[in-house]
């Protein structure tokens, strides 16, 4: 099997492509597939330039004649690839953090989505925030970068849908640096004693700085933070602090502490191979490898016909480090269990609990009527 990979680049997460490939190759090594799967790669930078994405995909699909294309790109640039995929009858596995979601969820026959479901996890966190304690008011805090993806709309919409009220929108416009300050946010908190919930969406590095700044606020112990998945990353929570005066809760797709055999196998294999702990990007690589492994096994029956491969995956239940992985028939998104992470005020232990009641929310989330007009960043989330 020959696979082509459109690899991303990121200044903020410099190892994004390397970690993804490391996860994929570690799975291949663990399953002794190195000699059966050949990898061809092309870089698509931050993923926001359609022309570059198209030309590199064309090179892999037509010139290299790969059997399957893995594209680490966001949803905005997928449409132009559809004629190429249809003409070559090749399967494309779209991989990304999942901060965006489609305007039109009706899937193309040869495209599936393996994401970290950031937007859906934010959707769940929005509901959780609205249903915890009596207070209904919340402040929305995010960055100029993060608010350009639809995960922010998801969190706010489900908070409001569950009778929450947004009292203030705070858009942080500075880079993550030592000068990071949240003065305007603090002024609002001092003036409005009725708002004690903060819906927060930040990347991991500014998240740590945000936590530190809020911790210095005199009323910090009165606050409850409801955070996006990247804010629950170990690098964000472990920002040099003894403990936070406020609580942090939020849904996330995966954590190293998740207890299941597949996660244990993933972490052990990765640590042995790379001498470091895996992260979310190597998780995506590992999971892409699991899918390829299944498709390779079935290829004697399906060949590399995209529709046949999608049918195989729809019927499959695959164990992944996130739990049971299934392909959603209605959307072609890979669905996995989701996890609620909680860090009580003053605690240094992040509690991770698998949630079983998410599917009804997913069904609602993925069938909402589309917005008429949307705008946002075109690059892949976290590729900046």
């Amino acid at each position: 099997m020959n696979i082509g990979i459109l690899l991303p680049r990121s200044d903020a997460h410099a190892n994004i492509g390397i970690d993804f490939l490391a996860g994929l190759k570690t799975l291949f090594a663990a399953e002794r597939l190195q000699d059966e799967i050949q990898i061809f790669t092309e870089s698509v930078g931050f993923g926001g330039v359609e022309k570059a994405v198209y030309e590199n995909a064309e090179k892999l699909l037509v010139i290299e004649d790969v059997d399957i294309l893995i594209a680490f790109i966001d949803l905005n640039v997928i449409k132009v690839l559809e004629p190429l995929l249809a003409a070559t009858n090749k399967l494309m596995i779209v991989v990304n953090p999942g901060a965006n979601f489609p305007q039109n969820w009706i899937p193309q026959p040869g495209i599936i989505y393996l994401t970290l479901q950031q937007a859906f996890n934010c959707w769940l966190t929005g509901k959780y925030a609205a249903t915890q304690s009596e207070g209904k008011n919340a402040l929305m805090a995010t960055s100029f970068y993060d608010c350009g993806y639809r995960h922010s709309e998801a969190m706010v919409s489900n908070f409001v849908r569950n009778e929450g009220v947004i009292t203030f929108n705070y858009i942080h416009d500075q880079k993550a640096s030592e000068d990071f300050n949240i003065d305007r946010l603090k002024i609002f908190l001092e003036e409005d004693s009725d708002t004690d919930k903060l819906l927060c969406i930040f990347d991991s590095k500014p998240a740590g700085l945000l936590y530190k700044s809020i911790n210095e606020h005199k009323e910090a112990s009165q606050l409850s933070l409801f955070a996006s998945p990247m804010m629950l990353e170990k690098t964000a929570i472990d920002f040099p602090q003894t403990s936070f005066k406020f609580s942090i809760d939020g849904y996330l797709p995966w954590h190293a502490d998740i207890q299941n055999d597949a996660n244990a196998s993933f972490i052990k294999s990765y640590e042995n191979a790379k001498k470091k702990m895996p992260g979310i990007f190597s998780l995506l690589g590992w999971e892409a490898g699991i899918i390829l492994q299944r498709l390779l096994a079935e290829s004697v029956h399906t060949g590399y016909d995209a529709s046949e491969q999608v049918s195989v995956l729809k019927a499959a239940s695959i164990e992944s480090p996130r739990g049971e992985m299934k392909l959603d028939d209605e959307t072609h998104f890979i669905l996995t269990p989701t996890y609620l992470a909680s860090l009580p005020a003053g605690s240094e232990t992040l509690l991770i609990n698998q949630q079983d009641d998410w599917y009804e929310e997913w069904a609602f989330f993925s069938t909402r009527p589309p917005e008429k007009i949307i705008s946002g960043w075109t690059n892949t989330y976290l590729c900046y």
Partner: protein
């Protein structure tokens, strides 16, 4: 590569968002419309007033000659068709250097034919599709570039479906136009012969309700598929010809003793009609020679509970 210039051949409002998109991007050279589509020509004339885009009306005999001359005059590089009733010969559709494309309001090859919107609704598809294909000498048989879908609700009428597809057509055209910006070769896939289905234009018999054969869901779908272009699905009662325009299924009424087509209830606004499988149909609006009426008005012309549609 020089930016492409488009010509649009069209015959109804399905083309309006496509036209708007081409106009907005300053890519539209001319519009060709069959002269028999008088109301549409007037509509386009108003829409494009002051835009400086030629609107050329043709008949079946003149279409090839006029089209060839227009393509040459405006140096057209891409031809687009959105519901155009005249077939083009190869010497014409091969003239634009980047090709001629048909925006077909049905997914191909499953819905070939002149009115796939009607066919998709009566078949109660949950998603309604549209394909862009390269023009060839057959009917809707060229290689497919793009196929996409939008949701179709059980209560969506033909008119609503057309509006949804018209917006989808503009979105898909935008993709095609973006690909043209960086590639002169548009990839396309041959239609799978085993999946081909061709539907003729619906006949008068195809828009009649057959009460003894059709379920409530099938009748609702037919009614919606006939709204608004046919003023509803045809039926008759007490020798009065009429059309049902707005109706919905009712599952909670027990009428096991009534034959399909019989009126179970009638009030000032609605009538309830027995259908197969102990289901019922609540009809809200009808069309008669007298006009569009609340269904309950049938009582004013002597229709009573127990009378049956046939």
């Amino acid at each position: 590569m020089e930016s492409p210039t488009y010509i649009l051949l069209c015959g109804n409002r399905l083309a309006i968002p496509v036209m708007r998109s081409l106009l907005f991007q300053n890519k539209l050279a001319a519009i060709i419309i069959p002269e028999k589509c008088k109301a549409f020509i007037e509509q386009v004339d108003i829409l494009l007033k002051g835009a400086g885009i030629p609107i050329i009306s043709v008949n079946e005999k003149s279409t090839s000659k006029v089209l060839a001359a227009t393509i040459k005059k405006h140096k057209v590089t891409v031809g687009l068709i959105v519901t155009y009733s005249y077939k083009l010969p190869p010497e014409v559709y091969n003239l634009p250097s980047l090709g001629f494309f048909n925006i077909h309001p049905g997914p191909l090859p499953e819905y070939r034919g002149p009115d796939p919107i009607f066919q998709q609704i009566v078949r109660r598809e949950k998603k309604i599709g549209l394909s862009i294909h390269k023009l060839d000498s057959g009917f809707d048989s060229g290689d497919v570039v793009l196929t996409d879908f939008t949701s179709l609700a059980a209560e969506d009428t033909y008119g609503i479906a057309m509006t949804k597809l018209s917006e989808l057509a503009a979105d898909m055209l935008a993709v095609l136009m973006r690909i043209f910006e960086f590639s002169s070769l548009i990839p396309a896939r041959k239609q799978v012969s085993t999946k081909v289905a061709f539907y003729q234009k619906q006949s008068a018999e195809d828009v009649v309700i057959y009460w003894q054969e059709m379920t409530a869901d099938e009748i609702v779908a037919l009614i919606n598929a006939c709204n608004p272009w046919n003023n509803g699905a045809a039926t008759s009662i007490n020798n009065i010809q009429l059309k049902l325009l707005i109706a919905e299924k009712e599952s909670t009424i027990d009428h096991s003793n009534e034959k399909p087509g019989a009126i179970i209830e009638i009030d000032s606004d609605e009538i309830t009609i027995a259908t197969l499988n102990n289901e019922a149909l609540v009809v809200k609006t009808i069309y008669m020679d007298e006009g569009f009426l609340a269904a309950g008005r049938l009582s004013a012309i002597g229709v009573i509970v127990g009378d049956a549609f046939n």
